[in-house]
């Protein structure tokens, strides 16, 4: 397959994944705002922006940290070069570029996502329809993944697409965790407070992990346990360990098909063994923020190595 097609698929699925995770994060912020009252929630909305890496862009526009302003900025503002609608459009542009590599069903699901969301996000989103909008984003990105799962040949094309999904998802989960722990925690005295618990719940919600975690831990929200769940629990589909196990399997598929491994494989295996050979105690001893920063950096290096090894661009 063309290097440019691999590049297009990789970024098509990164964009879709990021759009979906952004919707989840907004949903979590929205629920917190509902429970805490709109005025008290400005700190949570700011944390949403920090997680998305949009805080300085937002601050430059001088907007208020309220639900309406922040959600519209994140979802649809032309001032935001990484808005959700832009990501969906980017996914669709890439899908158009790799049209010959994907099935008609995957293309139509992607094109329809774009048509529906473009229409839905053409007007400002209010509290009345935010839930519906976020739900639509999640539903449509899920449809694309489902069409992939059900119709695509399991070859290099499929692997490049899934690699995009897993690289992006690992990055997003790591950022969500980091922001809560590093930015939102002003002092240790806060630990265990009602505010603290609410924030942890927001973290779990934004990775769709609240139900699974509650089920496993009988409702006890405890930072270390949550961090362990999000980083090391290979059963949870948005954990770093899960993403990396999948990534290893996608790249092993490529190595089998192509008859060779590349430097990206070595980088990935090193990163995976760092995850597998550590426990949550060691991570906290090392420093959670430091651990996550190192992970995000190495995740980016792996993505760059994949792009170089498989000739995404010349």
């Amino acid at each position: 397959m063309l290097g440019r097609s691999a590049w297009g698929l990789f970024w098509m699925f990164r964009s879709l994944e990021r759009a979906e995770n952004t919707a989840r994060l907004l949903d979590a912020g929205f629920r917190m705002a509902l429970t805490r009252g709109l005025s008290a929630a400005s700190e949570e909305w700011r944390s949403v922006l920090i997680t998305l890496g949009l805080d300085s862009d937002f601050a430059a526009k001088g907007g208020e940290y309220t639900g309406k302003v922040v959600t519209n900025f994140v979802l649809r503002s032309p001032d935001n070069a990484n808005s959700v609608i832009w990501m969906i459009e980017n996914a669709r542009t890439n899908a158009r570029m790799v049209r010959t590599a994907i099935t008609r069903e995957v293309w139509e699901a992607t094109n329809e996502s774009w048509m529906v969301l473009k229409d839905l996000l053409a007007r400002p989103v209010g509290e009345g329809n935010l839930g519906e909008v976020l739900d639509t984003i999640r539903r449509h990105t899920t449809l694309v993944r489902g069409a992939m799962e059900g119709t695509m040949l399991r070859n290099d094309i499929f692997n490049f697409a899934r690699m995009g999904t897993h690289i992006e998802r690992a990055d997003n989960t790591a950022r969500i965790l980091d922001v809560k722990y590093h930015v939102l925690l002003p002092s240790l005295a806060w630990v265990g407070s009602r505010l603290d618990n609410a924030q942890w719940e927001m973290v779990l919600r934004s990775v769709a992990g609240e139900r699974a975690f509650r089920w496993m831990n009988a409702g006890v929200l405890e930072p270390k346990g949550i961090a362990e769940f999000l980083i090391l629990d290979g059963r949870f589909p948005r954990s770093l360990a899960f993403c990396y196990n999948k990534l290893v399997s996608n790249m092993a598929g490529l190595a089998r098909a192509y008859g060779e491994t590349t430097p990206a494989h070595d980088l990935l295996l090193q990163a995976q063994s760092r995850l597998n050979q550590t426990d949550i105690g060691q991570i906290f001893d090392f420093g959670l923020h430091e651990f996550i920063t190192a992970f995000i950096n190495s995740n980016r290096q792996i993505a760059e190595a994949i792009a170089a090894d498989y000739r995404f661009i010349e």
């Binding site: 063309l2 158009r96 010959t100 139509e108 094109n111 329809e112 048509m115 192509y258 000739r311």
Partner: protein, 506 residues
């Protein structure tokens, strides 16, 4: 809706006004106006013609409201599928649908047999003509084509002189634009020997019709078109260059990219053929072959179905600023390293100056009388013709030989006396630069409107594939229809739509 009502609409058409001049300038059917017209569905007595008998029986039994809903559904289907074209200029970046009309255009098996014979003959002649032009120029020596129409002609590529493309095929894909003026009167309006487009609409229109009205196709037997992509792949593979060494050729489609107006078609054809869809940035000449950058390194391409113009093909040979082509591809081509479809330089065969010589060209190379007529054309370079044209300006369409886009053109019937007089001066000053054609009365086929069936002007572009020793013509083609009443403009950017084109089974 009753037959009588259709007849009435036809009456309106008979007295319908002329095409708006400004609009007609860019239209494909521009040299014609509505004087009286032949309707392909209904005859002069208001009776349904035999070709449409089966269809009308079915149509009259349908609920018009249900039909209208189906039409809406077809549109949303096209949007979802992404069968759109990009618009340049004002609405840049917008994607538009080409309106689809659900009333099919129907041709009988006998009509088609005759048409396809004529098309076959014409395409063979075009290919032989190209070979001759770039080699011995027998036709010029024989005095059938004056040297002057070749001199100073941009479509003629000196780089092709003395070179024979693999398999001797110049025009792998040809679209022949036909118009109809009567029961047995088809004329060639234009030959498209460069990179004719529209075949994806031919295929998708049929898919859509079959999805919307499956039972209709059990009632009326229609010759299938769905084999086109496979035939195209076979035909291209049969023209592999010497460098392919008899291995299964690697075929790729070269597109200018996703912002090109015909991108959908490029992707569609590549997908249907199982070929790679490449852009200039994917390609490079490596070890004497044109290669594409794959995830595993550079891979040689044997046959390149290019959808970029000659001028952009090779920055080393043609337009040096082109980003759409491959530097050095012409050298590889001439050394037998790749097949380019269509061959560079085929544009000379569909040039307006050449068009008027097509009857002579067909006869010269096939030794047969042309089966398909040209629209009669007066070459003002010839004294007798010029005299006739000057005497009949108010009823003729006069065009510049090398002009494009309708500049420097006179549509006699819609022009004022002053305009005609002004044009006459230009014509007298430089007669070599002009040709003239009569105004034609084009056939109509009904479209579906809220008020029922209404006749509109149509043309037809059949698609022809050529490989060594074989010419394959898909039964039917693309019917373009001017959706505005009385209009002759079938261009998709100006209110033109498309129809499914049926050739009935024998």
């Amino acid at each position: 809706m009753t037959l009588g009502k259709a007849g009435l609409l036809l009456q309106l058409c008979l007295t319908g006004g002329h095409a708006d001049a400004a609009e007609a300038l860019f239209g494909v059917l521009m040299n014609t106006t509505t004087l009286s017209c032949y309707d392909e569905m209904i005859d002069g007595q208001g009776q349904v013609r035999p070709a449409y008998a089966g269809y009308r029986e079915w149509f009259d039994a349908q609920d018009p409201r249900w039909m209208a809903r189906q039409g809406k559904e077809a549109e949303s289907f096209f949007r979802r599928t992404g069968i759109t074209f990009n618009v340049y200029g004002e609405d840049a970046g917008q994607e538009r649908l080409i309106p689809f009309d659900m009333i099919p255009r129907i041709i009988t098996a006998d009509e088609w047999k005759k048409l396809s014979k004529g098309i076959d003959q014409r395409v063979r002649a075009i290919n032989a003509f190209l070979h001759d032009l770039y080699h011995k120029r027998e036709i010029v020596k024989a005095g059938k084509l004056p040297e002057r129409v070749l001199a100073k002609n941009d479509a003629f590529l000196p780089q092709m002189v003395g070179f024979t493309p693999p398999g001797g095929v110049y025009t792998h894909i040809v679209g022949v634009d036909l118009v109809r003026t009567g029961p047995d009167e088809f004329m060639v309006l234009e030959d498209n020997a460069r990179t004719p487009s529209g075949v994806s609409y031919m295929l998708e229109n049929r898919e859509t019709m079959m999805a919307m009205f499956p039972e209709l196709f059990t009632k009326v037997q229609v010759q299938p078109v769905s084999d086109y992509p496979r035939a195209l792949a076979r035909s291209l593979a049969a023209c592999a260059p010497p460098a392919a060494n008899g291995n299964r050729p690697v075929v790729a489609v070269l597109t200018p990219g996703i912002y090109n107006s015909a991108y959908f078609e490029h992707a569609f054809l590549a997908d249907q053929m199982g070929a790679e869809l490449v852009e200039g940035s994917d390609l490079r000449v490596v070890d004497g072959r044109v290669c594409m950058r794959t995830t595993r390194g550079w891979q040689a391409i044997d046959v390149l179905y290019r959808r970029v113009d000659d001028n952009f093909l090779d920055p080393l040979t043609f337009n040096p600023t082109s980003m759409l082509g491959v530097a050095g591809i012409m050298d590889v081509y001439r050394a037998g390293g790749i097949t380019i479809a269509n061959a560079p330089g085929t544009g000379i065969a569909d040039d307006k100056a050449i068009y008027s010589f097509m009857p002579e060209i067909v006869e010269f190379y096939t030794g047969e009388k042309p089966i398909l007529k040209n629209v009669p054309t007066w070459r003002c370079a010839e004294a007798d013709s010029l005299a006739y044209v000057l005497d009949h300006l108010p009823e003729l369409v006069v065009k510049e030989v090398h002009g494009s886009g309708g500049y420097g053109m006179l549509i006699g019937p819609t022009s004022s006396r002053a305009e005609i007089a002004a044009f006459e001066r230009k014509l007298r000053a430089n007669p070599d630069n002009y040709i003239a054609q009569p105004t034609l009365s084009l056939s109509t086929v009904p479209i579906f409107t809220k008020a029922g069936l209404a006749p509109r002007h149509v043309d037809l572009r059949p698609f022809v594939l050529m490989s060594p020793g074989e010419i394959n013509i898909t039964p039917g083609g693309l019917t373009r229809v001017a959706l505005k009443k009385g209009s002759l403009v079938v261009n998709s950017s100006q209110g033109g739509g498309t129809k499914d084109s049926w050739v009935l089974a024998e």
